[in-house]
């Protein structure tokens, strides 16, 4: 812990007789996170972007489906900062509205995937034996089928509104979390405090929720953060193939759907939504990286 303090600070504290270990774990984590400059910048940027997107109905200059036939396929101008599409709809407005959906899909799909992974992984790791064997074979199975093609096939016939996409992506992104959680539980389970809780007559459910999961939450949080970026990219890939959230509801992915055909004459329609995805996922991953460093007690 002392590496967070400068030599001078340490000496002053020591001469005052103050122990540096008084700070809580949460505070140490927070301070370590603040040291990861990129993660801090990324967090601020992402929060701003999310705010802008979620306030879109208030701050967006136009309606997301407002058609302006006198201004179709215009490049960036003073009136339309990022240009307009083939129906004269303002690109900036649609990017903000699209961000709401894309970010929500990313967050909820990652949450669903992590929750599933945590449940499956903790059940397998805690109970062991046959249950473990069965669940891990299930994980192997899910890992063995190429995920993207599988998701593509399912979304080609399933309900492709935002909710459906979240369920489909979440349902096929739990495997990594499950393996990590299982491994972590196997080692946490050996601790004396788990034996003590058992001896005191605590139920399995209580032991998992109270004593085991809080001790492995680090790996779950980091995994979930990285899952957000993956889910946003998967959604955009599905939309690009025409399988994502259907228009006219804009998402960053479906805004790119038709852009390939018009890229030569209206490149901004391709460049800006892609930049939005890239920046968002980049920020999410930087945050994940910062969290990983901050939450890892061995560093």
């Amino acid at each position: 812990m002392s590496e967070l303090l400068t030599k001078g600070q340490e000496q002053i504290l020591a001469s005052e007789g103050i122990s540096v270990t008084l700070r809580s774990n949460r505070r140490i984590t927070w301070e370590k996170f603040l040291q990861h400059k990129l993660a801090v910048v990324a967090s601020i940027f992402l929060i701003l972007l999310a705010l802008l997107c979620f306030l879109a109905p208030v701050i967006a200059p136009f309606e997301f489906d407002a058609i302006d036939l006198s201004n179709i396929r215009k490049g960036p101008t003073l009136k339309h900062w990022l240009g307009t599409d083939a129906l004269g709809r303002d690109l900036l407005t649609r990017l903000l509205y699209g961000g709401r959906i894309s970010i929500t899909i990313g967050l909820t799909a990652a949450l669903l995937g992590s929750a599933l992974g945590t449940i499956i992984g903790s059940t397998a790791g805690y109970f062991g034996g046959r249950i473990d064997n069965l669940l891990m074979r299930l994980t192997d199975l899910a890992y063995s089928i190429p995920t993207l093609p599988l998701i593509i096939v399912i979304s080609s016939y399933a309900n492709t509104q935002a909710f459906g996409i979240v369920v489909i992506i979440g349902f096929f992104s739990w495997m990594h979390t499950a393996r990590v959680v299982r491994g972590a539980i196997l080692s946490v389970k050996e601790n004396e405090y788990v034996t003590a809780a058992l001896a005191l007559g605590a139920k399995d459910r209580i032991i998992i929720l109270r004593h085991v999961l809080p001790n492995i939450s680090n790996s779950i949080i980091v995994g979930a953060t990285l899952g957000v970026g993956n889910a946003i990219i998967t959604e955009s890939s599905l939309s690009f193939l025409g399988l994502g959230v259907s228009p006219p509801t804009p998402t960053w992915g479906n805004m790119l759907m038709d852009s390939q055909a018009t890229m030569a004459s209206q490149p901004w329609l391709t460049i800006f939504p892609g930049m939005a995805i890239l920046l968002t996922v980049l920020c999410v991953n930087f945050i994940g990286d910062g969290l990983q460093d901050a939450l890892d007690p061995t560093l």
Binding site: R137, D140, L141, Y143, S144, I145, P146, T147, L148, P149, L150, I152, V153, I154, S156, Y157, G229, I233, S236, S237, F240, L241, L256, S259, Q260, M263, A264, P267, T270, I271, G274, I277, L278, L279, V281, L282, V284, N285, F286, D289
Partner: protein, 317 residues
């Protein structure tokens, strides 16, 4: 060793059966049979004709019978008949395989040749400007949707600079090695992007771990040149886990090929998969999915075997 490979191969069999059941179930769960594509066009079709069509394709029977028929035929190497073309799925896949393998092979090679030196230099010059730029670039690459990177490449190199053809494998009437090379540059770059980013970061962290080992210090203190220590002692040991990851990723390149081939109109299996999806060509979809899954399972085993072969500390018990 041989015992281990045999045991693992035997374990693959129930796994592949389970995979086949999942894939079959998911594809059968699609509403509207193959006649859906006919009905989608809004034409009136005689119900009797539809029944006859369904009977001819064998989709009028109960699902479990269809499964057993399909898997039984699969075991003899018969992957079924495509709904779309009425041709054997196996032949269709075989025809497309060379183009996909060419693309995947070149991508793999490009990725390996770039990623490994990148990771090594980053680790040796840790916290240098080079390391900073390489790590930053790999973060950007990982955050980039593959298809968007492809679109951007097309915009700059085909539309703006007009250096490279937008799509396809060869210009009709031109041909030749240079022309084919021009066509494959962009798809191969796009397909290898994530591998370059992932492998170089992996190589970097693996190198960093090795560089702190005692035997590296020993090698240095013996008076060996820095270059010798790094190339002979460090890189060799650090690349063991990376080689294993690279092997696993061969199967993942297949997933990437679906998107890449679609963008660049590359006539491989990935693009055929998307076409089969739109046409609800179930036998073809199942055939391609089974092939992809088998690749994952096989390369898993290969990766484990290579790992143990390169690192004698791993035992096969």
């Amino acid at each position: 060793m041989l015992k281990y490979v045999i045991r693992r191969t035997l374990q693959m069999i129930p796994l592949l059966f389970a995979i086949s059941i999942v894939i079959f179930t998911i594809i059968q769960a699609a509403p509207g049979g193959p006649e859906g594509t006919l009905l989608d066009r809004g034409m009136f079709v005689d119900p009797a004709a539809i029944d006859a069509y369904r009977a001819r394709l064998g989709v009028d029977q109960p699902v479990y019978i269809q499964y057993f028929k399909w898997i039984g035929a699969m075991l003899t190497g018969d992957m079924g008949i495509s709904f779309q073309t009425q041709r054997p799925v196996f032949m269709m896949i075989l025809e497309r395989l060379p183009d996909t393998l060419r693309l995947m092979g070149l991508s793999f090679l490009v990725a390996a040749v770039i990623a490994i030196p990148l990771g090594v230099f980053s680790a040796v010059k840790q916290y240098s400007a080079f390391d900073f730029i390489a790590t930053g670039a790999s973060f950007v690459a990982i955050a980039m949707p593959v298809f968007w990177f492809g679109l951007m490449m097309q915009y700059f190199f085909s539309v703006k600079l007009q250096w490279l053809p937008v799509a396809g494998t060869v210009t009709v009437g031109v041909g030749g090695f240079v022309d084919e090379l021009k066509h494959i540059i962009m798809p191969a770059t796009v397909l290898s992007l994530h591998s370059i980013a992932g492998w170089s970061r992996y190589m970097r962290s693996s190198m960093l771990g090795v560089l702190n080992q005692d035997y590296i210090r020993t090698a240095h203190s013996k008076g060996l040149r820095k270059r010798t220590v790094i190339t002979v002692h460090a890189v060799k040991n650090a690349s063991i886990p990376v080689v294993s990851v690279m092997t696993l990723d061969i199967a993942r390149l297949f997933s990437g090929a679906v998107i890449t081939e679609t963008i660049f109109g590359w006539p491989g299996i990935g693009r055929m998969f998307i076409q089969a999806m739109h046409a609800r060509d179930y036998p073809l979809l199942m055939g391609i999915m089974m092939m992809g899954s088998t690749m994952v399972v096989v390369f898993n085993l290969v990766a484990d075997v290579i790992y143990g072969w390169l690192d004698p500390r791993i035992s096969y018990e």
